[in-house]
């Protein structure tokens, strides 16, 4: 297999101060710079309208940058149209040509890349084999299930051995169970073939699961980039903290600094954590719901709070907890002896729980 589909050609993608303006006034992407290493799967993550799809389409050459430079490998492709870029893309709608069979769809790109008839057929069949669709070559796309159509779309893009492979929300048309399976398949193929993949999604769980690196976008610019763990454990601001996983944002005071370590207080509770370059004074902490610890009231280093709402959801309990600073959301795995609505509790954080963020 890999002798047909080896991918020593995986290339880096570099954006240098790229801006995209639609019409005269709508800035879809505002002066972003990024570097994607070869052989990595990088996800562009963000809410709708943040510019992630525009960024992807600029890599593909379907949109042209208004300003800045785009490089694939060492080649400047800024003005090259899609046809001339060595990039292929898996579309959200799959965009399978409905009038062509599965094999014709997969062969389409090979034909225009100058392969001979035999070679085209061999490579297309190998691609179908790779995505587990051997024997489906003479079907029409309409005769396949959603998951199968998706895999044809992947095979069609893969067989060209592109320098960069792009995925535009590839799982959004699949049902929840299939999603988990397909995203794993995509990740496996990417790792086995060493492909450079840029992946767009608005689903943070999907992003965390498949990526080597995640680029979080907001309002046409990059909010933060890093490994999934970096983003989850150390978000730079409340937007990222809230977008990647859920986070409770609680105002706090930095009381003292000792090298990298800061001591903060929230009401009567104190906690030591990484200062992340902040100085003394008011700040903010982000706490994941799973890292809130609820104990019976009056415990050491806890804040007095009250359960405003208690919900049983099967494998865990969900609580809305009301304290002097406001309401927070907490999750507890203790379903055997849950707290009841209206009960008083002591609220604390796990050791590595909170992350310090600048105030506002």
């Amino acid at each position: 297999m890999t002798n047909v589909l080896n991918n020593s050609r995986a290339s880096s993608v570099t954006f240098e101060n790229v801006t995209k303006i639609y019409g005269k006034t709508v800035t879809a992407v505002d002066n972003i710079s990024l570097a994607i290493e070869p052989g990595k799967l990088v996800t562009l993550l963000g809410p709708s309208g943040c510019g992630k799809t525009t960024t992807l389409r600029m890599i593909a050459g379907l949109e042209m940058a208004t300003k800045g430079r785009i490089l694939i490998g060492d080649t400047d492709v800024t003005t090259l149209p899609a046809t001339d870029r060595d990039v292929s893309m898996v579309f959200q709608s799959y965009a399978l040509f409905p009038h062509m069979t599965v094999l014709e769809n997969v062969s389409y790109g090979l034909k225009y890349s100058g392969f001979g008839k035999e070679e085209t057929r061999t490579r297309a069949l190998a691609g179908l084999d790779l995505v587990g669709l051997k024997g489906y070559d003479s079907r029409l796309p309409s005769e396949l299930s959603g998951g199968q159509q998706q895999r044809v779309a992947v095979a069609r893009a893969l067989v060209l051995e592109p320098q960069v492979l792009l995925f535009d929300e590839p799982l959004s048309n699949l049902d929840a169970k299939l999603r988990r399976q397909v995203r794993q398949d995509i990740r496996d193929i990417q790792q086995n073939l060493g492909l450079t993949v840029v992946y767009v999604t608005h689903d943070q769980e999907e992003a965390l699961a498949v990526s080597d690196r995640i680029i979080v976008m907001r309002n046409a610019s990059i909010a933060q980039e890093g490994s999934p763990r970096d983003l989850y454990e150390a978000p730079v601001d409340r937007f990222v903290a809230d977008f990647i996983g859920e986070a409770n944002l609680i105002p706090c005071d930095i009381n003292s600094l000792n090298g990298e370590t800061a001591t903060i207080s929230v009401a009567n509770l104190t906690h030591e954590l990484n200062a992340r370059g902040l100085t003394k004074g008011p700040a903010m902490i982000a706490v994941r719901p799973t890292r809130v610890r609820l104990t019976p009231p009056g415990g050491h280093n806890t804040i007095a709070a009250k359960i405003a709402k208690s919900t049983y959801v099967g494998n865990h309990m969900e609580y809305i907890v009301e304290a002097a600073f406001g309401k927070i959301f907490a999750v507890s795995e203790n379903v055997a002896t849950p707290f009841e609505t209206g009960q008083n509790v002591g609220l604390g954080f796990t050791e590595s729980g909170p992350v310090l963020l600048p105030a506002e």
């Binding site: 001339d84 965009a95 040509f97 890349s113 792009l166 048309n173 699949l174």
Partner: protein
């Protein structure tokens, strides 16, 4: 295997092709139009290449003739320097843009400046002294060279980065702009200018004003008891009433079809086919058979009441009936969509809010349909204004603009300026309606069929509306059926109203043939025009469809500067009445550089631009249903935009292509208004021939011929439906994810 990056190649097949075309057309093809016809090739054996009638430009120059063609050598040489350069080389695009623009400009500039009588403009004569030489219309050489220059220019623009450097798209835009300019805007502006020309050939505003404000156009004496009003008022009044009547009747039919349990409502849909297959004057002929002086009904009533048969039909009453009959199906077609488009959930919401059926209809349904109703009215208005056949047959003393234009040109007066002024008035009315339709109504549609499931059901009509609606619909449908039966029956009657025996004699006169040695001899009187019509229609249909679909592709799939103006320009010819096209073509293409009158080409061209908007609309409608990611997928897979258009879009558009083909074929067979100006002895069309028979009171033959045309067109439409039905196999809906 790396993808071939076209922008870094130094040999571009398309570029080489067009440069070769340029040189060949300059050096080897006859420069001027061959007078014996476009497709004759006697010139090859008759003095070519030195005879100055047939000589290529290079040979003309070599003999020291037509020296004004010499500057064309500059761009022809300049373009050679682009060979061997890469696309990203700035000189590449500059060379092509210069060569293309200068060449194209000079080619047309010299063409307009020097005509049959030397300098075309007085100021040139006074500036350069009389020329003492002349030239004819452009031929193969000049036209191909012009295309070569045009496409080199667009390639240059593309190389500069326009539309992502896409040569196919830029060239397509360039081509559409060029031909729409030459065949729509140029003749219309020629006509505008003609309105200012005095009898001595100079320009004068007062002459225009005198013609424009003439009482024959704007007189209002009929209001004060005078004999007649101006033609402009006549046309306007007729168009407003016909627009109103056809909208009301169209709405009635639409309501019956979509909101009733009426048993025969499926058959009513067949009505929508009628206007497509009926030559416009046929309704008028049928009315004459029934209500004319010797019409069946007239005679019956006259006998009954013992009075003289009157000529009441000829004039306003006849026109009103004929046009309402002819254009109601068009309004019906529009209003079916409008009535179905009103979201049922709105009406259901109103019902749950305790409104009765009648109240729902009056307060919700009808207001939501209002923009659609206005649209149908404007369509009826434009059609009535532009109608030529019925006024010619039935008009009597009620003069309207479209026929007056015709009589100004063909009559004893031969008043080009007068015809131009009338055409301007007519054009103002139709363009006004067109403008209102696009910009005033354009954004006001409340009806939309979205992809979201709107699971409601339209309520039935309220009872107090239903009964009158049924009554009107039944009566009018019956009337329409009788009219069409009359046409068929009339074609077999010897001499209507005088000798009512049934006979085949009209068919025999028209379509007789005999078998002779070596084939069939077409001895019937109608064969000539029949075959010409078929030939012209067959030639025009694919060109119309191609141009319409390419334009639709550009409008739906590409963004470029000036797209709105581009769209307006291409749809404009829809609002230009055929008579206006006819007059303006005569004025523009009777003289060099584009000498086309009397050829078959001018008929084909007029059909292409008359019917192109329909192709564009059909294309837009079906292309906007194709997900744009299909194109993008194809592009990211390495196909260029031409290959994408050819391999992905066109195959998915097969039904739209067929529809555009058949529609333009059928329209080319039924058109009369532009055709009647452009036919010649050699290229006579069926409709023009029939009108000629009518003018000689030879109704039998005219009706027999019309019936034959209707049958031929029914066959064409039937064939279309058969073929579209079969192509469904290739057009599965399952682009999106299927459930499994």
């Amino acid at each position: 295997m790396t993808r071939i990056v076209t922008s870094e190649k130094t040999t571009h097949p398309t570029l080489i092709f067009w440069i070769a075309v340029g040189w060949v057309s300059f050096a080897f093809l006859p420069w001027y139009a061959i007078q014996d016809g476009f497709f004759t090739f006697e010139w090859l054996f008759d003095g070519y290449p030195w005879d100055s009638d047939y000589a290529p430009a290079a040979f003309l120059l070599a003999q020291g003739e037509k020296l004004w063609l010499a500057p064309l050598i500059i761009p022809l040489v300049a373009m050679l320097f682009s060979l061997g350069r890469t696309k990203s080389d700035p000189l590449f695009s500059k060379l092509l843009i210069f060569a293309g623009a200068f060449g194209f400009f000079w080619l047309f500039f010299q063409g307009f400046a020097i005509g049959l009588r030397g300098w075309q403009f007085d100021w040139m004569t006074s500036l350069f002294a009389p020329l003492g030489d002349r030239q004819f219309g452009m031929g193969y050489g000049a036209m191909l060279l012009a295309s070569s220059f045009l496409f080199l220019f667009t390639m240059g623009i593309a190389a500069r980065g326009a539309i992502n450097g896409d040569v196919f798209v830029v060239s397509a835009i360039g081509l559409v702009i060029a031909i729409v300019t030459i065949f729509v805007f140029f003749p219309i502006s020629r006509m505008l200018v003609a309105a200012f020309i005095t009898e001595e050939g100079s320009y004068s505003f007062s002459v225009f004003a005198a013609k424009f404000f003439d009482d024959r156009i704007w007189g209002l004496t009929c209001l004060t008891g005078g004999p007649r009003c101006g033609v402009a008022w006549n046309s306007l009044f007729l168009a407003v009433v016909v627009g109103f009547l056809s909208t009301v009747l169209g709405l009635v039919f639409a309501l019956v079809v979509t909101r009733s349990n009426f048993r025969f409502k499926r058959n009513l849909r067949a009505l929508t086919v009628l206007p497509i297959i009926t030559p416009p004057f046929v309704i008028g002929l049928a009315l004459i058979l029934m209500f004319g002086q010797s019409g069946a009904v007239t005679k019956f009533v006259a006998d009954l009441l013992d009075m003289q048969p009157s000529r009441w039909l000829y004039g306003l009453p006849g026109l009103l009936i004929a046009q309402t009959l002819a254009f109601t199906p068009i309004a019906f077609l529009v209003l079916i969509g409008v009535v179905e488009g009103v979201s049922p959930s709105m009406e259901e919401a109103a019902q749950t809010l305790r409104a009765g059926r009648w109240q729902v209809f009056r307060t919700v349904s009808l207001p939501l349909m209002r923009p659609g109703l206005a649209n149908a009215f404007l369509l009826g208005f434009i059609e009535s204004m532009a109608d030529f056949g019925n006024p010619l047959v039935l008009g009597g003393n009620y003069d309207v603009l479209s026929t007056d234009i015709f009589f100004a040109i063909v009559g004893a007066q031969y008043d080009q300026g007068g015809a131009a002024v009338l055409a301007i008035v007519l054009l103002t009315f139709t363009l006004g309606a067109f403008y209102a339709q696009r910009f005033w109504l354009g954004n006001k549609s409340y009806t939309s069929v979205s992809g979201k499931g709107d699971a409601g059901v339209h309520p039935m009509m309220p009872r107090r509306l239903a009964y009158p609606v049924y009554a009107i619909a039944t009566l009018w449908a019956a009337f329409t059926i009788v009219i069409y039966l009359m046409i068929v029956y009339g074609s077999f009657v010897d001499l209507w109203g005088v000798n009512n025996t049934l006979t085949f004699k009209h068919y025999i006169t028209a379509f007789d043939f005999s078998f002779v040695e070596g084939g069939i001899r077409w001895t019937g009187a109608a064969w000539d025009s029949f075959w010409t019509t078929i030939k012209i229609a067959v030639a025009a249909a694919p060109l119309t469809a191609a141009l319409g679909l390419v334009t639709a592709y550009l409008l739906t799939r590409q963004t470029f500067a000036g797209k709105n103006a581009f769209e307006f320009g291409t749809m404009l010819s829809f609002a230009i009445p055929g008579t206006v096209i006819g007059v303006s073509y005569i004025l523009a293409f009777n003289v060099p550089p584009l000498e086309l009158t009397g050829t078959g080409a001018i008929l084909i061209i007029s059909f292409i631009f008359r019917n192109m908007p329909v192709g564009v609309r059909a294309g837009i409608a079906s292309m906007s249903q194709l997900d744009k990611s299909l194109d993008e997928a194809s592009l990211t897979l390495g196909a260029n935009s031409w290959q994408t258009f050819r391999r992905v879009i066109l195959p998915l558009l097969r039904p739209a292509i067929l529809a555009a083909l058949v529609y333009s074929f059928v329209r080319a067979m039924t058109a009369i208004s532009a055709v009647i100006f452009l036919v010649s002895a050699e290229y006579n069309m069926a409709t023009a021939y029939i009108i000629g028979r009518v003018e000689n009171n030879d109704y039998g033959l005219a009706i027999a011929y019309s019936t034959t045309l209707i049958v031929v067109m029914l066959a064409a439409v039937g064939l279309l439906q058969f073929m579209v039905g079969r192509t469904k196999i290739g057009r599965r809906a399952g682009i999106g994810p299927a459930t499994h």
